[in-house]
Symmetry: C2
Subunit: 343 residues, 2 copies
Amino acid sequence: MSQAPQTAQQPVILTGDRPTGPLHLGHFVGSLRSRVELQHTHRQHVLLADTQAMTDNAHDPDKVRRNVLEVALDYLAVGIDPALTTIAVQSHLPALAELTLLYLNFVTVARLERNPTIKEEIHARGFGRDIPAGFLCYPVAQAADITGFKAQVVPVGEDQAPLIEQTNEIVRRINRQVDAELLPEAQALIPEMGRLPGIDGKAKMSKSLGNSIPLSSTADEITHAVKQMYTDPNHLRASDPGTVEGNVVFTYLDVFDPRKEEVEALKDHYRRGGLGDMVVKRRLEEVLQNLLAPIRERRTQLAADPGYVFGILREGTRKSQDITQATLDEVRGALGTFSFDRS
Amino acid sequence: MSQAPQTAQQPVILTGDRPTGPLHLGHFVGSLRSRVELQHTHRQHVLLADTQAMTDNAHDPDKVRRNVLEVALDYLAVGIDPALTTIAVQSHLPALAELTLLYLNFVTVARLERNPTIKEEIHARGFGRDIPAGFLCYPVAQAADITGFKAQVVPVGEDQAPLIEQTNEIVRRINRQVDAELLPEAQALIPEMGRLPGIDGKAKMSKSLGNSIPLSSTADEITHAVKQMYTDPNHLRASDPGTVEGNVVFTYLDVFDPRKEEVEALKDHYRRGGLGDMVVKRRLEEVLQNLLAPIRERRTQLAADPGYVFGILREGTRKSQDITQATLDEVRGALGTFSFDRS
């Protein structure tokens, strides 16, 4: 892959993560892996979304603070290259807060309450009536993030498409009012590989569900995780025929093992009977150890020099401040709000 | 009155106006007059609340923009002294936007919807279900304003006391979480003289109701306004007995005429009969002309030199940026959110 420098012609892409825990294999499959590719073909901006993380972690800012570094280490360890990608800390981009407040005037409360993603997340978090106002408003903050960078492409999970729609409604509303193509509409980029299931077979790998394999796992932790992994509960003896569908070990082999034909042969064997779980798990363990060893090694090196990592974040944040401030100035100028320079 | 310099011992007061139109006699009586006094005994900060004005004027930013200068002229013309009072443009204080986003995480949507002031204003503006999210959230933005300046005293109309209560709930919530008296609670300062009625007798003087006397009125406009003024509709001939209560001319004389005994004598005469509306109106006209002539004169001089006025706003805004940024840093530090300096 060529190390082409970012050019103005490349489309702008914005991604990011709430820093609420170290990233895991699910993030690797769902987004990190593709970011490493996309940085060669797009102007890529990645946000450490600590402001957004506060919308449901206001009681524990310390967790968010600590994980800014952890997630940055994950980024760099998997190969996100600060020469190709700007990595910024969201809370240090005041223009995004100002854009958010501005956009809140262009969205009704009823519209926010109708957002399917928000509805589902409110339910999942058990907020009931006690939804923090910041949580209800976070799609507007995301619209500020996306438009602040003038992102044209935003990778999102399938369930997050309504967030892009909300952004584009704001974009169209503002563009109509100023009668110009001031802000670009964003396109959702839905990843080919959807969610990686947890090691327990649940649909989603998640730190809080305790079914994840963090990118920073030690070799022993990987061994242990694979041992615990959900297979076919009816496959009691090696000689029994087994089921491959929903069997996490095979799902992971499909995702991570590059030797596709060998994996297909293993599946056939497992279905016929005569292939024990331990054999398949040993193979997966080897694959995961090979995948994660260089990531862990690089992560350990970087973690030993946090000053270097913070230097990267500082530089990415500074660049992002300039970009988002320029957008804020442009939006305000087009709308005609007060400015000392235009008075 | 002594021109005592502001000192750290004086309590901090925050006031301001949405710049949506030039200020009028109602503002003069309800707030401006007392600000001219309070600046000698308090550290006074005044906000030109253009960000807040956008919460119900997003369709017309130009109106808000133009009125920033108009309201600043009104301030300076009535005697708000930039050597004693900092006057700042709200949209140029990014720390307030950042504090607002932070505080939104400490307030529930249900709580915002319960706010009686908001309920009433939603009704008054006819928003129905289409309440802009920014409007629902503006009490939180006000909490950011008040705490951003660490204001201890906030002059508000009686109907706005719930806004101070909302601020103090956030203050207590944050102070409890950080286990320190980080932010001061604010006290509402309810003005002695409540609302000045409109010249048509309606309870509230308001530009949009067309019943106001702007501070920038010409002599002719004052004459015309007093002529139109609502008196006693049953007082058809001078010889008839008249009613003083609800008679706007007498209400205004009570407020503006320093010769209280003469006003009382006039009231008696009017009640007995034999005193024509024209006589009373001539007296009020003289009082208002005397009150407004020097204000208008000073306003005209200032309006001829907008660069001077913007210089004052620039300086006040710069000082206010420092104050509000220091508060934001302090709140973030106490909560323990991410900072490059504390990493």
